[in-house]
């Protein structure tokens, strides 16, 4: 059941955040978790509450609870009827992240940072502009990966110049994160070398340790008829199945989507340029038309927060629709 005051409270809290005052609408993380138990959808005004608790990880070390924000498919440089406001959408998303009641530990961008162009100089210019805009995020830890629009025409050359490696891993507060590149090969393959790297990277990780994979395309065959797949994604999934606590966050399909393969959860994020229709819901994979009565409808970002055991992720979807659709949270 949705809270009819959600949008008003959310915006009010954003204003309070900007002005340095927090009012009675702010909820602690514990209160937010309790809310999850009483309603199907909970608004984000209480997301990531003021209390940061120390928790004990399986290895025995203590770590703070945390959440990250996922932005995806910003397609900087796109121009066209599916988003006549494309010059502003990314900036609005940055402002919305900055207006969250509490800062995430980091922001991850799951590919298609820029819209493709055949002009190498223009591609680099778009990447520089993108970096300038996301540089306005208050949180300064950013994790990037390419989408096919960034990397497929030059096999990642311009991307690497601007953002670094296209695949890598890092650890954060007891979670191992692996970033996979399934786009620098224009045929959408991860490739033997990267799969070997992934195997070597994960080998030291305990079987029950929390692992998060960030990538652009779905690793599973979501809908190959629309190119929503990774050619050798099944090999990555087969490898990841050896670990018990793996979650994949990806983009590419411009909509929220949740799926499991074995014990692996796969979560697709909305885009920040135009939404695409549900897989197979219409003959052609064409953008959902822009609705001038609801600018930004279907666009948004999410945050993902760990539970105490790092075994689950609680996802909260944030809209950038101008009519201020409230965020909704669910636990996975």
């Amino acid at each position: 059941m949705r809270d009819p005051d959600g949008p008003r409270l959310f915006l009010a809290e954003c204003r309070q955040r900007r002005s340095g005052h927090r009012g009675m609408t702010t909820k602690t993380r514990r209160e937010f978790i309790q809310l999850l138990g009483v309603g199907g959808a909970v608004f984000a005004s209480g997301l990531a509450g003021a209390c940061s608790r120390n928790i004990r990880l399986p290895g025995g070390e203590a770590a703070d609870d945390f959440f990250f924000v996922q932005l995806s498919d910003t397609h900087w440089g796109f121009k066209g009827p599916p988003n006549p406001d494309a010059a502003n959408t990314l900036r609005e998303a940055v402002a919305a992240v900055n207006a969250l009641p509490h800062d995430p530990d980091f922001v991850v961008f799951t590919g298609d940072l820029t819209h493709t162009t055949d002009d190498d100089a223009e591609r680099r210019r778009r990447m520089q502009e993108f970096k300038g805009i996301v540089g306005e995020l208050r949180v300064k830890t950013h994790r990037f990966m390419p989408g096919e629009h960034d990397a497929s025409l030059d096999r990642g050359k311009a991307y690497e110049e601007n953002f670094g490696a296209t695949h890598y891993s890092f650890d954060h507060k007891g979670v191992h994160f692996a970033v996979l590149d399934n786009v620098s090969d224009p045929a959408a393959a991860i490739g033997d070398a990267q799969l070997d790297w992934l195997h070597r990277d994960l080998t030291p990780i305990k079987p029950d340790a929390p692992i998060v994979v960030f990538t652009h395309r779905p690793l599973f065959d979501l809908y190959p008829q629309w190119d929503w797949a990774t050619k050798d994604g099944a090999r990555a999934i087969d490898l990841l199945q050896h670990w018990k606590n793996v979650t994949v966050f990806y983009g590419h399909i411009h909509q929220e989507h949740h799926f499991t393969t074995g014990q692996i959860a796969h979560h697709a994020a909305k885009s920040l340029i135009f939404p695409l229709p549900p897989p197979g819901s219409q003959p052609k994979r064409a953008p959902v038309p822009w609705d001038p009565a609801h600018p930004g409808r279907g666009l948004g970002f999410r945050d993902a927060a760990t539970d105490e055991a790092r075994a689950n992720w609680r996802l909260t979807e944030h809209s950038v629709e101008r009519t201020a659709m409230p965020a909704a949270a669910r636990a996975y």
């Binding site: 162009t117 055949d118 025409l153 224009p186 190119d227």
Partner: protein, 110 residues
Amino acid sequence: MGALLLAALLAASAPESTPERVVVITAKKFDFTPAAIELKVGVPVVLELHSGDRKHGFTAPDLKVDAAIEAGGVTRVRIVPDKAGTFEFHCNVFCGSGHEEMTGQIVVTP
């Protein structure tokens, strides 16, 4: 196994005694020509794939067809439709800003 068609890369040439229909398809940013192909159930056909500019792909997942089309090269794919229906194909080698619209249909009639 439920596959609607059998697909296989052709050998160097088909036996002369069994000439098969050849459908020539050209891929060029960002279209296939022709974009609509009509086939008949049980009648073998060879798809002869050319590129008019750069590397492209030709995939029809429902028909188990997946082939690369190299610039300057020719790729031949033999298929034998075993069921009627309309099946989408598209380019699956990213080729630029119109890549997502580079699609077509194979219509198989009884």
